[in-house]
């Protein structure tokens, strides 16, 4: 119970900091909007509706992935500024609570961006779900959590690195391949609706398993990362 209270305190603090500065959400919104517009111009969604439908899942996730990276890279910057991280290290509280609070805050930020981008994406790419559209309510949060939990962890890992801006995508993208594959395929299956309806379930299960494994590993290893010199 006390652990959950600690997580909530970290989460509320990060939400409050973002509310005051709006650094993360504004940057992500601008970036993802740019990607969606550029791709919609490049692929002519009205001229090639079938092709567009087949690649739209990939475009949506790529836009969100790139946008998330810009925010995740900055997610620990507030802790490093003014050496607040040292104060966090001195607190007699579980470090994993700090990690979980920050990951949940990042999830909230990316979710806000998804809620804004999704309708625009539907308009620009002229798509709607031909399969089971409700499945997106499972695919989107599971896929977002997969990006956010690893991104938050690897951003912390690169805190003391000189090229941390470069380090995050270098570490995050390869390790996220199974998750990206699952979320893109599941989303494409839902949007095209022309495959075996069992298929999206497989990808969702894979995504859920990925989330459980990587969340556990990140929580277990975060203390080592936090106190590394």
């Amino acid at each position: 119970m006390n652990y959950l209270r600690q997580v909530t305190r970290h989460l509320l603090k990060d939400l409050q900091l973002e509310w005051r500065s709006r650094d993360a959400i504004n940057g992500m919104l601008f970036f993802s909007l740019l990607v969606v517009v550029v791709f919609s111009i490049a692929f002519d969604p009205t001229g090639n509706p079938t092709t567009t439908r087949q690649i739209s899942g990939g475009i949506l996730w790529i836009a969100l992935l790139f946008a998330s990276v810009t925010t995740l890279n900055q997610s620990w910057a507030r802790e490093v500024r003014n050496s607040v991280l040292d104060a966090q290290r001195m607190v007699p509280a579980p470090p994993s609570a700090l990690f979980l609070g920050k990951a949940l805050a990042n999830l909230a930020f990316v979710t806000v961006v998804e809620l804004v981008i999704a309708p625009l994406f539907v308009i620009f790419f002229n798509v709607h779900a031909l399969g089971n559209g409700w499945m997106l309510t499972a695919i989107m949060p599971l896929g977002t959590w997969a990006l956010v939990v690893n991104g938050t962890f690897f951003a912390a890992l690169g805190l003391r690195a000189k090229n941390r801006e470069l380090l995050l995508p270098l570490l995050l993208f390869p390790i996220s391949v199974p998750a990206i594959l699952s979320m893109v395929n599941a989303t494409t299956d839902v949007l095209t609706g022309d495959v075996d309806p069992i298929q999206p379930y497989f990808w969702i299960k894979l995504l859920a398993a990925y989330d459980i494994i990587f969340t556990t590993v990140c929580l277990l290893l975060f203390e080592t990362i936090l106190h590394a010199e």
């Binding site: 600690q6 305190r9 409050q16 005051r20 507030r78 003014n82 007699p92």
Partner: protein, 248 residues
């Protein structure tokens, strides 16, 4: 492997001794690349003492303080606080660095309430609450401005309030008087002298222990009235140790 066995033996030897030292360093060295910040330093800080560490820039003062805080580990030798590792004593130690260690976007009160909440057990009995801690350092607890808009001196005082509210038995202060005007610095000295008299009300030393302060400074005249030990460092080594009765 031998080094690990030796470190464990040293830690065990420290643990079996009667606890009179709040912090103890044994043959400690810290090397950053080719630069040795500390060279074979051995010293102890008695419980209830106030030690002022003097020295030029790069003498190893901050490294020593961060090591006692458990924020960095020695390249060689061992560090113990209250008989065990600093990491095991986090609830009893507070550290104030020359950076404010506060969130710029939050007000002083919000910062203090956040850190007090993380401790779980609320605030120290002597400072009572984040509001009282802020009043103790001469700041208005109802100030809504974010810390990022404070002057350096106000940040420094908020930082002091942050460490005092945690009710520490061992208080580590890195350059606490820098950025402060004369009046604020003198007020801080009086507050620190008062802090030493606050009773310890929780933990293993409740009712019997006394509070310990270790501070580094370039302004010796400010620290001198409360310090009973003056330790001078030069090139990563302890050059001299001077003990005397504090004026306050």
């Amino acid at each position: 492997m031998d080094e690990m066995v030796l470190e464990k033996a040293q830690a065990a030897a420290i643990a079996t001794q009667p606890q009179t030292a709040a912090a103890e360093l044994r043959e400690v060295s810290k090397v950053y690349g080719a630069f040795a910040a500390l060279r074979n330093v051995s010293t102890s800080f008695e419980m209830g003492s106030c030690t002022m560490i003097l020295g030029e820039n790069g003498a190893g003062k901050s490294t020593l303080l961060r090591m006692v805080a458990g924020l960095i580990s020695p390249s060689r030798g061992s560090v113990a606080t209250f008989g065990t590792t600093p990491q095991e004593q986090r609830g009893r130690i507070a550290y104030m660095s020359h950076a404010p260690m506060l969130y710029d976007e939050l007000s002083a009160g919000e910062n203090l309430r956040y850190f007090a909440g993380l401790r779980g057990d609320g605030c120290g009995l002597c400072t009572g609450s984040p509001e009282m801690a802020l009043r103790a350092v001469g700041l208005d607890p109802h100030l809504k401005r974010p810390v990022g808009q404070y002057s350096q001196g106000m940040r420094q005082r908020t930082s002091l309030a942050r460490v005092l509210q945690s009710d520490p038995e061992l208080l580590l202060l890195d350059e606490p008087f820098s950025n402060l005007d004369v009046e604020s610095a003198e007020m801080m000295v009086t507050l620190l002298a008062d802090f030493r008299t606050w009773p310890i009300t929780s933990g293993p030393m409740a009712g019997i222990g006394r509070r310990t302060i270790i501070l580094t400074t370039h302004q010796a005249h400010l620290g001198a009235p409360i310090a009973d030990t003056t330790l001078t460092m030069r090139a990563g080594k302890i050059a001299s140790v001077l003990k005397r009765e504090p004026a306050i």
